[in-house]
Symmetry: C2
Subunit: 195 residues, 2 copies
DNA sequence: GGGATGACAGAGATTGAAATCTGTCATCAC
DNA sequence: GTGATGACAGATTTCAATCTCTGTCATCCC
């Protein structure tokens, strides 16, 4: 029976499975153990608490959902073009997931929201990518040189919040959402531009 | 007893009172009637439903909370300065209320959110005020002339959402909130400016 | 007649007893 | 010794019985 020594990875897989099926409100550690065919005590050898397990699932999901972004941030196109592409990719990925499977998206949004730490770190990672693009734009003379890149990255991230914060998921399918997104990004790029 | 013929205004006053004391989850029409010393059937002579009563309370509150804004929008200062002042007044009013009495603020946020219609109309009113400022800025040559004022108003409103949408109330007391607000507004004004 | 009432049906909320879950740990199996 | 188990205490959730609320309307009162 114990042919394979249960891995953390398997537990995460099972936990995702249970969350997908039962949703964040009903998923229990006992359910996860049942899927794996072990006792729930075993799950507690790998994770100190249910919250830690859910946080790990959230981290995995966030990383996977935004796997394409770093490549865009360090791409070969001009910084202004890259900034637009990066924000489009972020909005696009969120929007696609929210429309494809709203229930699953809601589940993961709950996980992310409850795992404060994980979410904060994820956001810091995203803002750091934005900061790289902005810094290169400043070096190239495409963007105005006043203002530190990380602060500007935070500002751009905040100003585009409506297009990546899950609380706004319902408006992403509104008729004007894409037009509004493009307009906000356009205005921010104008604001960033050197004159 | 029936010296005064019960007015809609009195009912709204009583409803606010009950909402303040019991919160949005517990406040009932029977409570409101009790405060007024009438039967709850009487309340239904003035409002077709509990939802309509709550919507009327929400409208009153939103109008009162933002009573100072129209004067700023039509003020005598330069449009760019007025735009900044107007956004500061909006953020400031929200922030003050949220910090002064978080519970009451949460109560009214619930009312506003559940009264879709009322909230949408209120937002349209606010955006129309912003549009007036922007249109004057375009006429004066302070703002770039491309883009229609109402669309630009919507874009500015959306980009500053983090500083007026009640879902973000918890971050308004963060150490950098005011700095971030000023930076977002600064970037947007740069984007709006004629070159 | 205009305005208020309170009894009523159906919908929705409350409550507390029973069931389930979380997290621990002494024990077991290899 | 390493890793898994399952019994357990305390916390949390469920569920069904009960109670309260919403919205209507026939009736009442000035």
């Amino acid at each position: 029976m114990a042919e394979t020594p249960l891995t953390t990875e398997q537990i995460l897989e099972a936990a995702e499975d249970v969350l997908r099926r039962f949703g964040p409100a009903k998923a229990t550690v006992v359910d996860v153990a049942r899927v794996l065919g072990v006792s729930h005590g075993t799950v507690y050898r790998h994770f100190p608490s249910k919250a830690a397990l859910r946080a790990a699932v959230a981290r995995r999901w966030l990383d996977r959902a935004h796997a394409a972004l770093p490549a865009i941030a360090t791409g070969s196109q001009s910084p202004d073009r890259r900034l637009r592409l990066w924000l489009e990719a972020l909005y696009g990925a969120k929007k696609r997931k929210a429309l494809d499977d709203p229930e699953l998206f809601a589940t993961y949004s709950v996980l992310a929201t409850e795992s404060h730490e994980v979410l904060d770190e994820h956001i810091r990672t995203l803002q750091a990518q934005l900061a790289v693009i902005i810094a290169e734009g400043q070096d190239d003379g495409i963007f105005a040189r006043d203002g530190d890149p990380l602060t500007l990255a935070q500002i751009v991230f905040q100003a585009t919040g409506r297009f990546h914060d899950p609380v706004y998921a319902p408006v992403w399918s509104a008729p004007n959402a894409d037009r509004d997104f493009a307009a906000v990004v356009g205005l921010l790029l104008r604001g960033l531009a050197a004159r």
